[in-house]
């Protein structure tokens, strides 16, 4: 007797509904439990000693005064850490692979790099002690510019690597030279992107608790990628993965930023020597200075274009400033392959990435990784092409968009776009804000001496990353594909418990996963408890487990559905046996299994569960008792790169179109966003309320990046923006209401037709704002080739424009 459910057979009763979040009551009443709320008996508090220099040799570290301070229990120097722990295994090992320990011991390579750690009775005492550590430095020449760092003779961040360029490659997809030879026009620009980060409101932290009896290290951390981290810290601490008990509490935002295995290893070493739990929790200054920042970069972008505006090919030369990132370098460049041609039918691409180390904070994952810059550059270039050919920027885009009947569409770099209707998305966005009316408003404003501008950008939003893409960098096929794992258990009382290897950082997975499982098991979402905490001893996990790359609605859902279907099928098999019916005649809904057409013949899920756990002799003979299943899902779209280096670096594609109306005050160079519209298509939506929240938040991330946020370094590598007074986040008065509309084109490749939605807004928004600002200032001929468009950057451009205008006016007299 068997029962197997087809992927699309289950009735969507709860998925698709805008259910209020299950997690909210505890978060609204102050009962969330975040890392900083976890208190262990006897817990010590740690602080780092950090480098004030961007590049210096460490000549000596004297910790005697710190160690003698009352209340200090432990001191760890870089030299000791190097003895007691191994180098941290990178996600993407670059060929030169210099060693990377949890604390600096020979050199410091960026301002804020930790070189010693103190554990004390409280944080204030630990900081007092850290201030007593005397470090002797020999300052070294500094390099903070990626193009300069790539040149021969530049100061070397890692001497043993022999070069600051950790990755340089030339990829040729299609006949690029022929396309450029055939082009009527070549439009070329140099674009730059700055350093910024999402800066979740909760900082990163860790509590390490070494149980010397069981020899188990319990780690509480708000790390976003436990699947990766567990192996890295086990290896560095020379422990087995069976000895690492990693728990993530409620997480106060992530966006890619929350990860730093080095901090976990250092804290664990102190917990082991002091014999007490040790907590390290970043303060905001440490977070802004030293946790991680998105790469800044430079891109030389050229397009071969025909007279009617058809883009034939692109040449992309990309410099990513990785800072001192040895954990995941090359990511920012590599992931651009996923959206290199964006929403357009561009048949040929040459891509030349340089990943370069400099004396800056390590780069790392940040909402969209590299794709916001790719989109910014290409969507800026599309506007320049339109200008050159005197076409409306919307018309130019319609001319090049991939059409609805072309899906699935394979881009020249190997990305497989699963579904969508890009022209419909753009049309809807233009309608959302009334494009023609906006143009009329702009004409009237210009006549009145005001500078109004309209920006448009389109975007694909890739979801779920395929680790096999890194083969292009490393040549090693040791980590490939992407998966997630989930456990679903129906308890004896008929209610379900769910846990999976992703860790929620605010997206509402307790609700979304409950909706999915409720449909699968015919339960009410209130009867599905999704564990908010990841616990490596009870949650199934794999290498790719974690919260990143937009993977919940694509890969995680595959695991959750997979586990739930095993239980669904088992419930039906047991009920069929109890009801003496054939499984195919049964249906599971509203908490009971019933014979189709004869609902009086039924068993509740609770009754089935009671049998499964305690009335074992009533089970079908040979059937394993219990209603618990684990499922490891491997995303079936992931493949190795082909011989032509084409790769599905990311697997499922949401799309969006953004439109903005801005006004620039030429007296103050202040940009005001008057209206902002987003139309998105993320396939089947599990919960429209959550989807819209993601769209709002990500879009404001992009607007913040475009107008406000920037990590500023001086030529000596000193970071000048270490508080929220200097590193400006958007407040409620900086942004308008984000107006939204949607399409819902299901993905044919995911179990429920869902796609990713967490990063989308952050990808096209910087381009959209820049396009709008340049459009506003077109009468002055102002060019926006870099971000952020802060008043101090825009002011001189406006002044130059006004001077040109005045010069032209006086020349004309």
């Amino acid at each position: 007797m068997t029962a197997t459910t087809d992927w699309h057979e289950v009735e969507a009763r709860w998925t698709g509904t805008a259910l209020k979040r299950k997690e909210d009551p505890r978060l609204l009443t102050g009962r969330g439990r975040y890392l900083d709320d976890v208190k262990l008996a006897g817990m010590l508090h740690a602080a780092f000693v950090r480098s004030p220099h961007a590049h210096a040799r460490i000549l000596g570290v004297d910790t005697s005064a710190a160690a003698a301070l009352p209340g200090v229990y432990g001191v760890l120097t870089g030299a000791e850490a190097r003895e007691r722990s191994g180098s941290l295994r990178p996600l993407i090992p670059v060929p030169s692979e210099p060693p990377n320990y949890c604390l600096a011991s020979d050199k410091v390579r960026y301002v804020g790099e930790p070189l010693a750690m103190i554990a004390a009775v409280d944080r204030a005492t630990a900081e007092d002690a850290a201030a007593l550590v005397a470090v002797e430095y020999e300052e070294l020449p500094v390099v903070v510019d990626a193009e300069r760092a790539a040149e021969p003779g530049a100061p070397l961040v890692y001497e043993e690597a022999g070069s600051n360029v950790v990755w340089h490659e030339v990829f040729e997809y299609g006949d690029v030279d022929a396309a450029f030879a055939a082009a009527d026009e070549v439009v070329a620009e140099r674009f730059t992107i700055h350093r910024y980060a999402s800066t979740p409101l909760e900082c990163f932290g860790v509590i390490a608790d070494w149980d010397a009896g069981q020899e188990v290290l319990t780690i509480y951390t708000n790390d976003q990628r436990p699947g990766l981290t567990i192996g890295v810290i086990a290896e560095a601490l020379r422990l087995s993965e069976t000895q690492i008990h990693l728990i993530t509490p409620d997480i106060g935002g992530g966006f890619g930023n929350k990860r730093r295995p080095a901090y976990i290893v250092a804290t664990a070493l102190l917990a082991m020597t002091t014999g007490r739990p040790v907590k390290y929790f970043e303060d905001r200054r440490e977070n802004l200075t030293a946790l991680m920042q998105a790469c800044d970069g430079v891109m030389y972008l050229e397009a071969a274009v025909t007279r009617d505006g058809t883009v034939l090919a692109l040449r992309v030369r990309d410099y990513a400033d990785e800072g001192t990132n040895l954990i995941s370098p090359c990511q920012h460049s590599l992931l651009k392959l996923g959206n290199m041609v964006n929403t357009y039918r561009i048949p040929a691409v040459r891509f030349e990435p340089y990943s370069v180390l400099t004396n800056k904070c390590p780069s790392g994952a940040n909402r969209g990784i590299g794709k916001p810059f790719m989109c910014f550059a290409l969507e800026r270039l599309m506007d320049r092409i339109a200008e050159r050919l005197t076409l409306d920027p919307a018309d130019l885009r319609f001319r090049n968009l991939i059409q609805a009947d072309q899906f699935p569409y394979e881009t020249p770099t190997g990305a497989l776009y699963d579904s969508g209707d890009f022209p419909a998305t753009l049309r809807k966005a233009l309608d959302l804000l009334g494009y023609d009316a906006l143009r009329e408003e702009q004409r009237q404003a210009r006549a009145a001496g005001r500078y109004l501008g309209i920006g448009i950008s389109t975007a694909v939003e890739p979801a779920s990353s395929n680790l096999a893409a890194y083969v292009l960098v490393t040549g090693k096929k040791t980590s490939t594909g992407v998966g997630e794992s989930a456990m679903v258990r129906v308890e004896p009382d008929g209610k379900a418990r769910v846990t999976f290897g992703d860790v929620c950082s605010g997206q509402g997975y307790e609700t979304a996963a409950a909706q999915v499982v409720a449909d699968e098991l015919g339960l009410h979402p209130n009867d599905v408890h999704v564990q908010p905490w990841f616990d490596s001893f009870t949650t199934p996990w794999m290498y790719s487990s974690g919260n990143y790359a937009n993977k919940f609605a694509t890969t995680d859902v595959g695991a959750i559905v997979g586990a739930a279907r095993k239980i669904r099928d088992k419930i039906i098999v047991i009920a069929a046996h109890l009801l003496e019916a054939a499984p195919d005649d049964l249906e599971l809904r509203e908490g009971r299994v019933q014979v189709r057409g004869a609902p009086s013949q039924s068993k509740t899920v609770r009754e089935v569960a009671q049998v499964a756990y305690r009335n074992l002799l009533a089970l079908p003979s040979g059937l394993e008792p219990g209603l618990e299943a684990t499922y490891f899902y491997s995303n079936p779209l992931a493949e190795l790169p082909d011989e032509a280096d084409r790769v599905r670096g990311q697997l499922i594609f949401t799309n969006a179109a953004h439109i903005a109306l801005v006004e620039v005050d030429v007296e103050t160079a202040q940009v005001q966003v008057l209206r902002y519209g987003v139309v998105h298509d993320c396939g089947k939506e599990i919960n429209p309320l959550l989807v819209e929240g993601q769209v709002h938040g990500a879009t404001v991330h992009g607007i913040g990046a475009a107008l406000l946020e920037e990590f500023v370094y001086d030529d000596n590598g000193q970071i000048l923006t270490t508080t929220f007074m200097d590193y400006l986040k958007p407040t409620a008065t900086d942004v308008p209401t984000i107006e939204t509309d949607r399409l819902e084109t299901p993905s044919p490749y995911t179990p429920l037709g869902t796609k990713g939605v967490g990063e989308g807004g952050a990808i096209p928004a910087p381009a959209c704002i820049a396009n709008a600002v340049e459009d506003a200032l077109r009468p002055l001929g102002v060019r926006i080739n870099g971000l952020p468009i802060s008043p101090n950057r825009l002011w001189p451009l406006i002044q130059e424009g006004l001077a040109r205008q005045n010069g032209a006016a006086s020349a004309g007299k």
Binding site: L28, D128, E202, Q507, T723, F724, K729, A732, T733
Partner: protein, 162 residues
């Protein structure tokens, strides 16, 4: 290096007395001595507003106020908003309108919104945005927070009338 001093204050109607380091901030006193961990620390330099609580009815950054300065004061934190297991209308509205994601800014955001609605029961959207511009939310883009405060204002006014 540090001095200690005895203080007594009322938090959410309950009296707390104890010794504190003179350099301890109010937020650390609330979180550590009172064990009220609902108030969060986001920047410790008075910009993000996550630690906002009401002291004698006025919104303050509890990371910038020393615990000794609150001696004798009445403090209201997020834990004091719900009464008898019933959510405050602001909490209800944030739930209904998806006005929170990670929840880290939420306690401070609720307290700033409460202060606004006590002073201005029917605020315009601009007034709401102005009032909550004291608090950073990284997740929501503020859209649904504004909607939630508008809804709470309407609900509180309905409640007033009945």
């Amino acid at each position: 290096m540090t001095q200690r001093r005895a203080i007594a204050l009322t938090v959410n109607g309950q009296r707390y007395s104890g010794e504190t380091d003179v350099r301890q901030s109010l937020v650390d006193f609330l979180r550590e001595t009172c064990n009220l961990t609902g108030t969060h620390v986001g920047c410790e330099h008075g910009v993000c507003g996550a630690c906002t609580v009401l002291v004698d009815g006025e919104g303050v950054r509890s990371c910038l106020m020393l615990a000794v300065q609150a001696d004798g004061a009445e403090v209201l934190t997020v834990e004091g908003l719900a009464r008898d297991g019933e959510l405050h209308p602001l909490q209800e509205a944030f739930w209904e309108h998806h006005g929170l994601q990670c929840g880290y800014c939420t306690p401070g955001m609720l307290m700033s919104a409460l202060e606004l609605l006590r002073e201005e029961p029917a605020p315009s959207e601009a007034a709401i945005r102005e009032a909550i511009s004291s608090n950073l939310c990284i997740c929501t883009g503020y859209v649904n927070i504004v909607r939630a405060v508008q809804a709470a204002a309407a609900a509180l006014q309905r409640k007033e009338r009945t």
